[in-house]
């Protein structure tokens, strides 16, 4: 069976230097560079990575909130990038979006009812009364009271607003939802409520999620498969179990080791890989493997000259590294203590002055 969503060679370049101020630069930022993956019906695929890795841009290209530069996006076998007019509207009905910031993504001058009914109005569904009924039902589904339909966003907390953002995305009964950091603005106890809600809704409505997040723990909890991105590329892709328990890419392993666990005894016992330097400026990505400037196991010249392709290392598990598990990362591993003395910023070649901010 073909996948619900098939992405092949997706690339998104942003031109820098079209305005007056930056016109001398005339550069291209390759925010997403040749990214391919598939999402099966009913599953949750996680896109993880640090800020600027291109995970949000990927999500936005899929929704056509941004136009991809090249590559193929197929949804149910239809070429999404070619859709225009009415057919694009139908596609957007099927593929909805949940935004990160529940404070910024709800119009403060509209009531919850108006916010939630808007997709129905745009797509011409129902009469005013029917729409109101749907809104009330949907508020109950996401755990709010139907009376809240006449209230405004400012009267509610972040968690409650995010519930409305989720309700809005469900109004048109979509097949797939792109969730862009849906819980990262929320407190721990509220975050767990929203994660459980997303779980329930997936079961109830048979939804497919593309789940974009930087929090590794959240992604492990909610996703079936995970794609790890670094500087616009997927460096590792596989089932949740495989990626988390036996990561093959040194970046994945470093990322996992850098995220602390809420248990002091375990945390002390964990080995830590502390990466040197910053993520390089995406306007000047390193040659070869983009991770080689910070990689603890990089070997030269191959890593700085030749770009490693995404290769299968086990069934359904791919990674883009010349030395994926060829020898264990611990051979080149720095212990946490001497990481700084050795060469605190040796790998630093970012150009922060030219950093245009966060592309995630």
């Amino acid at each position: 069976m073909a996948a619900l969503l098939q992405v092949e060679g997706l690339t998104k370049h942003f031109r820098v230097g079209q305005g007056v101020i930056l016109s001398h630069m005339n550069k291209t930022v390759k925010a997403v560079d040749d990214v391919s993956f598939a999402v099966e019906q009913g599953e949750t695929l996680g896109l993880v990575g640090e800020s600027g890795c291109g995970k949000s841009t990927t999500g936005r290209c899929i929704n056509r909130l941004l136009e991809a530069t090249s590559g193929k996006i197929e949804f149910e076998g239809v070429d999404v990038r070619r859709l225009r007019g009415k057919r694009l509207r139908v596609y957007r009905r099927d593929v909805q979006f949940i935004f990160q910031d529940p404070y910024a993504s709800l119009n403060p001058r509209m009531t919850f009812g108006e916010i939630m009914a808007e997709p129905l109005v745009i797509h011409g569904f129902g009469t005013r009364r029917e729409r109101e009924q749907r809104c009330k039902e949907m508020l109950a589904v996401v755990g709010l009271s139907p009376e809240h339909i006449h209230r405004y966003p400012h009267e509610f907390s972040g968690g409650q607003r995010q519930r409305v953002g989720i309700a809005r995305s469900l109004m048109l009964r979509p097949k797939m939802i792109v969730c862009d950091e849906p819980v990262s603005a929320l407190d721990v106890s509220i975050q767990a409520q929203i994660i459980n809600l997303l779980d329930e809704l997936q079961k109830e409505f048979g939804l497919t999620y593309l789940f974009i997040a930087h929090d590794l723990a959240v992604v492990r909890h909610i996703c079936d498969r995970v794609a790890v991105m670094y500087l616009g590329k997927i460096v590792e892709l596989g089932g949740r179990q495989e990626v988390y328990s036996s990561p093959h890419h040194p970046y994945t392993e470093s990322l996992l080791s850098a995220a602390p666990v809420p248990d002091p005894q375990k945390q002390r016992a964990r080995s830590r890989i502390i990466l040197r330097g910053d993520v390089p400026d995406p306007m000047y990505p390193p040659t070869g493997c983009r991770f080689h400037t910070r990689c603890p196991i990089a070997r030269f010249p191959i890593c700085s000259e030749e770009e490693p392709p995404l290769r299968s290392v086990a069934s359904g598990h791919e990674t883009a590294c010349h030395f994926a598990k060829a020898f264990p990362i611990s051979a080149g591993r720095m212990t946490s203590g001497d990481a700084h003395q050795q060469d605190p910023f040796g790998g630093f070649d970012g150009r922060p002055g030219g950093n245009l901010g966060d592309f995630s």
Partner: protein, 338 residues
């Protein structure tokens, strides 16, 4: 000998048009040199206001310390003159703020900003202070510090700005370093670098650190004592191992239970705490956590519990924390620990 820093039943209230906001309402702890205290809690729990109170940086009015005391080496900070407080601040007690983008001055060179406390507190000459600033930048791991000191903040990346903030806080060799969410704005690999740097600095200078974070992982990583806050109150205090592995307060249980983990499969559902944190203007009567607590009884709704020492050095503000049967009902007792 008195502890290096001691906070005794601190209550910082804000008097606003809408009512009295009890932002900090009963926080006590003691801190010794070389120790790291982690303060955890959700937004609005009063962690940052506590930190700002220690530095006397809360604007008064609307804020007012209605009771309690803050002592530095046995001397009450609250009773000092403003001038004396100013001498302490940035010199003996220094602070690292959450957002290095907004807490550095964009129109001054990094070097000058790091040199400022030295000029102010140590009376260093411009030249001496600049040299010291370059030295400090080197200490926090900025490459080519002599050149980078001439940069403006926008020329630094997020992680480098946070390093510059740390350099500034370290300038006068403070005895207490207060870090308010120092890694929240940073990516996880940069966060690991900054935490490592703070550990290294502590080993070298022996200063005490107060680490404020909403991230339980960060606190577990760096703190040896933990203070859990809820609605302005300290609800649990103890050694990090105790608080994380044998938590006494139902709120701490709830926090640990609602966290997904990246180092193990939890499979299935998380157990979140039900409901929302209360409004600080209109706190529930009795225990502030009672409306969300799965174990609340009538007593909890009428009588506010106090922070009481249960085991040596481990205290909890719950009526039932001393009750062995009650603790056996905690989600952590079944497995022994998380």
């Amino acid at each position: 000998m008195p502890p290096l820093m001691e906070v005794d039943d601190l209550r910082m209230h804000f008097f606003t048009r809408d009512g009295v906001v009890k932002a900090v309402d009963g926080v006590s702890f003691a801190l010794e040199a070389g120790q790291t205290l982690g303060m955890v809690g959700e937004s609005g729990s009063g962690k940052s206001v506590t930190a700002l109170s220690l530095m006397r940086l809360v604007p008064e009015p609307p804020g007012k310390v209605v009771s309690g005391d803050i002592r530095f080496k046995g001397e009450s900070i609250l009773r000092m003159s403003e001038k004396e407080q100013g001498r302490l601040r940035g010199d003996r007690i220094a602070m690292i703020f959450q957002d290095p983008m907004t807490s550095l001055n964009p129109v001054h060179r990094i070097g000058r900003q790091i040199a400022e406390p030295l000029r102010l507190h140590k009376g260093a000459s411009k030249k001496e202070a600049w040299g010291a600033a370059v030295e400090l930048l080197a200490q926090v791991g900025i490459p080519q510090p002599a050149e980078r000191a001439w940069d403006y903040p926008h020329e630094f990346s997020g992680g480098m700005r946070q390093r510059a903030m740390i350099a500034m806080a370290l300038a006068c060799d403070p005895e207490v370093l207060i870090a308010d969410e120092p890694t929240t704005a940073l990516d996880v690999t940069i966060q690991a670098q900054i935490l490592e740097l703070m550990r290294e600095i502590q080993a070298r200078t022996g200063s005490a650190i107060i680490m404020i974070s909403h991230d339980l992982g960060v606190v577990a990583d760096i703190a040896d004592h933990v203070l859990v806050m809820y609605a302005g109150k300290a609800v649990e205090f103890g050694a990090a191992d105790e608080v994380f592995c044998r938590p006494l307060h139902p709120y701490t249980w709830g926090l640990l239970e609602s966290l997904p983990r990246h180092d193990a499969d939890d499979g299935g559902r998380l157990s979140p705490i039900k409901g929302q944190p209360p409004s600080l203007i209109n706190l529930p009567s009795g225990c502030a956590f009672s409306p969300r607590c799965a174990y609340a009884t009538e007593r909890c709704c009428s009588e506010a519990p106090h922070l009481v020492e249960i085991d040596s050095g481990h205290s909890s503000a719950c009526h039932f924390s001393a009750d062995k049967d009650f603790l056996n009902r905690s989600p952590h007792s079944a497995t022994g620990k998380l």
